[in-house]
């Protein structure tokens, strides 16, 4: 069993102790960590876009906030997690470049964060940590042993949430 489970862009994975889930280089993308503290089942998704309805002819549900979250929950339940116990920690949704033109491109991070929060609310999952926004990249690691989220940035180092 791999100790560190890597989650790519537009990808989702589940894990059990002593495993950790890792995703690198979150910009406007959002990393979503779900956790059942009793069974210690963890899950992570790395979404790129807010809404699958706006996409044309798409196949990968892990790419969108509205389709990745239900799929991640489903995979965690299959591993023994109980939905009513799930809690969430989210990070990312940054705006890496700032300038006036083409507002849609620039706001995608913010739209991603809001879509993730809305979908989690709809699923009845409380957000314990919301580290979104800003203009910097993040690499996140989620420990299934204690449910701690390690957020690394280039300028501010690591914070444990």
């Amino acid at each position: 069993m791999e100790h560190v489970v890597k989650v790519g862009m537009c990808d989702l994975k589940t894990a059990k102790p002593p495993q950790r889930l890792l995703t690198s280089g979150l910009g406007s993308c959002v990393g979503i960590c779900l956790y059942d503290p009793v069974t210690k089942t963890g899950g992570m998704a790395h979404i790129m876009l807010p809404d699958s309805a706006q996409a044309r002819g798409n196949t990968n549900p892990a790419k969108f906030a509205d389709t990745a979250i239900p799929l991640l929950i489903e995979e965690m339940l299959a591993l023994g997690a109980v939905k009513s116990r799930l809690v969430a920690k989210i990070a990312g949704g940054a705006q890496m470049f700032d300038f006036a033109t083409n507002s849609e491109v620039m706001r995608v991070g913010d739209r991603n964060s809001k879509a993730v929060a809305a979908k989690l609310k709809q699923e009845g999952i409380p957000i314990l940590v919301n580290d979104t926004g800003g203009n910097f990249g993040r690499t996140i690691e989620f420990d299934t042993v204690d449910g701690k989220l390690y957020i690394r940035t280039l300028d501010k180092g690591e914070s444990i949430r």
């Binding site: 862009m9 690198s24 280089g25 910009g27 790129m48 044309r56 002819g57 033109t101 995608v108 990249g137």
Partner: protein
């Protein structure tokens, strides 16, 4: 539409490569004039990659780089990302300001605007050449500079591809100064849909008589 990149024929790839080669040559010449140094460049690569693999081309999602980003509007919108290592960016500022190499120790606001200007000149030359061949107008935005994880910067670009499919088209060239004091990677990402327009303007669309 989603498959437009995957349907690229070898001939279409070669033509894209050739046009990019002329564009990059023009960009390298502009950079050489600006820095008064010899600039070499590699033959551009034209690659179609799954979205999650794009970061590997830039040395990994975590890799710390200086990124100069420009949106290009017009009939065939694109994004441009120019990646430099931190050392290269500092050397570049020294060259631009005519100082001894090693004078610049960190990238501040003033240095950033020097880098933006350099990005403007290289991309402007590249796009002029591309515009000359295709007859299409390419209008670049003011550049924006960030120093951060390569993967995080790529998010802003890849999101366009994500809306229509799971692959990205990358045209990339490495520019380097003769003595390798600086080296950078210039990436052009035509938006989904733009490729068809560029190819048909070049007379090699899938529906055309060619090939």
């Amino acid at each position: 539409m989603a498959d437009e990149f995957l349907q690229l024929s070898p001939v279409q790839k070669d033509i894209l490569k050739e046009v990019s080669n002329i564009g990059a040559g023009s960009g390298a010449t502009a950079l050489a004039h600006l820095l008064r140094r010899k600039i070499t460049m590699t033959v551009p690569g034209v690659r179609v990659l799954p979205l999650e693999e794009v970061a590997t081309v830039t040395g990994g999602a975590d890799h710390k780089v200086v990124g100069i980003f420009q949106r290009v509007e017009g009939p065939a919108p694109c994004s441009i990302l120019f990646f430099l290592s931190i050392d290269s960016a500092m050397h570049l500022v020294d060259m631009l300001l005519n100082r001894a190499l090693g004078t610049t120790r960190f990238i501040d606001k003033l240095n950033m605007s020097a880098l933006e200007e350099m990005g403007n000149i290289v991309s402007g030359s590249f796009l002029n050449a591309l515009g000359g061949f295709t007859g299409l107008k390419f209008v670049p935005s003011v550049p924006s500079v960030a120093i951060d994880m390569a993967g995080a910067m790529l998010n802003s670009v890849l999101y366009h591809y994500g809306q229509v499919g799971d692959h990205a088209l990358i045209i990339d060239t490495e520019f380097a100064e003769q003595d390798r004091h600086l080296a950078g990677n210039f990436f052009l990402f035509p938006d989904p849909g733009s490729l068809t327009k560029i190819l048909s303007a070049l007379g090699v669309s899938n529906h055309g008589a060619c090939c």
